[in-house]
Symmetry: C2
Subunit: 244 residues, 2 copies
DNA sequence: CGCCGGTTTGACATACTTCAAGAGAAGTGG
DNA sequence: CCACTTCTCTTGAAGTATGTCAAACCGGCG
C-alpha cells in the first residue's frame, strides 16, 4: 500500500470541490477540513482497504477509479460499486467495512482521519447533509443495479454498464471530454460487476461492435457509434435517463 | 389508497420507538414530531406509493410488511427491498421515488408531511444522524443482495432469503417469538425478490422441505428444522452472521 | 524474440426458464 | 352448506441463455 508524501493542496482549487462531501462547506469549514486532510496515492491494482480491516480514515476520490468488491468463500466475486472522482469511501460510525476497496487505475484520495471527521459531522450540518444526500444517491444506484443483476439479459447488462460509464466519464471530464471512452476494467472485472463470466462479456462486447453500436480503437478505448441503439439495448425506459 | 382516521398515538408507547428514525430523539423533539405525524393504514395488496408520484409525505413502518418494486417496460420486475416495522419510507430532499411501495400484509405507517420533516432534519441533528445511519445500513443490505442476485445459485438464494426472514422476524417479534415463521410473500413475489421464477422458488423450497431443513405446517407457515444446514446452504461465511 | 496477461473463439454442459397441465386452498354467491 | 370461480402452488417435460472447458490469439514488455 504505497503512497506519496502527504500533501495538502488548497481546497479552493480542488477539482471535486463542488461535488464531494465538502460540496456545501463554507470557507471556514473548508479551513477546518484542510487541517485534517492528507492526500494519498495508489497505483493501479493496489488494495486501498481490505474487508474487515480497522477503518482509520475515510476519504474522497480525487482522481482515478476504485472498485468495491465482495468475495465469497469459494472465490466467486461480485463487484458492488465503482468509485469515480468525488465519490466517498468509508462509513462514519462504523469501524469496519464489509468489502475490499481496490484501485483499478492510479488513484489519488483526499483522506480524513475517521475520528476527527466523525466529530466534524456532528458539529457541521453541511457535511452531514451532503453525506446523507450522497448515501441516498448510492442507495438509488445500488437498487438500479439490483434490477440489472436480477432481471437483465447479458446484452442488456453490457449496454447498461457502458451507458453508465459514458455518463460518469462525461461528468468527470476525467478523460478529456469527447475523446474516446475508456474501459477502466478488464473483461474479468466487468464480468464481476454485472454478474456474468468474462467470456460472455467478451462475446457481447464484440457483438455490439459488429452491429456498429460500439467502435473500438483498442481493447480498452472505444466510442459510442450509435447512442440510441445503445440505450435501446439497455432495456430501460426511454425517460429514465432524462429524469436527472 | 384507503386509510383510517388519522390518529396520533403517544410516541412514548410506540413499539418502534427505539429503532425508527426517531430513535435518538429526546422528549422535546418527540413532542415536535407528535405535532406533525399521522397514522395511516393500508390493507394487504394496497399500493402505498407509486413510482413517479409526487412524494408528499415520508413515513416509518409501524406494523406489517411493505416491499419496494421496480418494473421494466416489458413487465419483468425486481423487488429491491422489504420494509419491516421501524424501516423508513421516502427520501428527504427529493420529491419522487423511482419504485413502487406496496403493502404485502396489512400495514400501519407513521407519516410525516415531507416539507416540515425536511426542515426538522436541518434543525434536529438527532434525526439527521439516525437517518444517515439507517441509510448506510440499507446500503450495506443492498450490497449484500447484489451478491445474492449476481453470484448465488437458486438454492443459495432461497436459503439466504429464508435466513434473512428469520433474522428480521425474530427482531421484530412481529409474529410472536418462536412461533412458526411466516412467509409474507407469495412464491411469485419471492421470485421477484431473489431474481428467479416462481417455479424455481417452489422447487427449491420443496427440496429443502424434503431434506428436512424446513418444516411446513401450511403453504405460508413453517419452522426451521435445521438452522445449521440452512446457513450452510446460504453460501455465506460462517462468521458473517455473527458480525452484527 | 519469446514470454505473459488479457482476450477471443469454439464446442459442449447445465442450471434455470418456459410452457403446460393439474391440484389444493380460499373465497363467493346461490 | 355446497358448487363455482379464482388464485396460488406443484410438478413434469422441453428449450435456451449462459457457464464451463479448452485452445489459440494478440499486444506489450523484458
Amino acid at each position: 500500500m504505497r503512497f506519496t508524501a502527504k500533501m495538502r493542496p488548497k481546497c479552493s482549487e480542488c477539482p471535486i470541490r463542488h461535488r464531494a462531501v465538502c460540496a456545501r462547506c463554507d470557507d471556514s469549514e473548508l479551513t477546518t477540513l484542510e487541517g485534517i486532510k492528507a492526500y494519498r496515492s495508489f497505483a493501479a491494482g493496489d488494495p486501498i482497504l481490505r474487508r474487515g480491516d480497522p477503518l482509520t480514515y475515510v476519504a474522497s476520490v480525487v482522481r482515478g477509479v476504485a472498485t468495491l468488491n465482495k468475495t465469497m468463500e469459494d472465490g466467486r466475486t461480485q463487484m458492488v460499486g465503482m468509485l469515480f472522482p468525488s465519490d466517498f469511501i468509508g462509513r462514519p460510525g462504523r469501524a469496519k467495512i464489509d468489502f475490499d476497496v481496490v484501485a483499478v487505475t492510479d488513484v489519488t484520495l483526499c483522506c480524513f482521519q475517521r475520528k476527527p471527521f466523525e466529530s466534524l459531522i456532528e458539529t457541521t450540518p453541511h457535511i452531514a447533509q451532503r453525506l446523507l444526500e450522497m448515501s441516498l444517491d448510492e442507495l438509488d444506484a445500488a437498487r438500479d443495479w439490483m434490477v440489472l443483476l436480477g432481471r437483465k439479459t447479458a446484452r442488456e447488462k453490457i449496454a447498461t454498464f457502458v451507458e453508465m460509464l459514458v455518463r460518469r466519464q462525461d461528468i468527470e471530464g476525467s478523460a478529456g471530454t469527447d475523446g474516446p471512452l475508456i474501459l477502466p476494467l478488464t473483461r474479468d472485472e466487468i464480468a464481476d460487476y454485472i454478474g456474468l463470466t468474462l467470456e460472455t462479456v467478451s462475446r457481447q462486447l464484440n457483438a455490439m461492435k459488429k452491429e456498429g453500436i460500439l467502435r473500438f480503437t483498442d481493447r480498452r478505448r472505444f466510442e459510442i457509434a450509435d447512442l440510441a441503439a445503445l440505450h435501446l439495448a439497455t432495456g430501460d425506459d426511454s425517460e429514465d435517463t432524462l429524469v436527472y
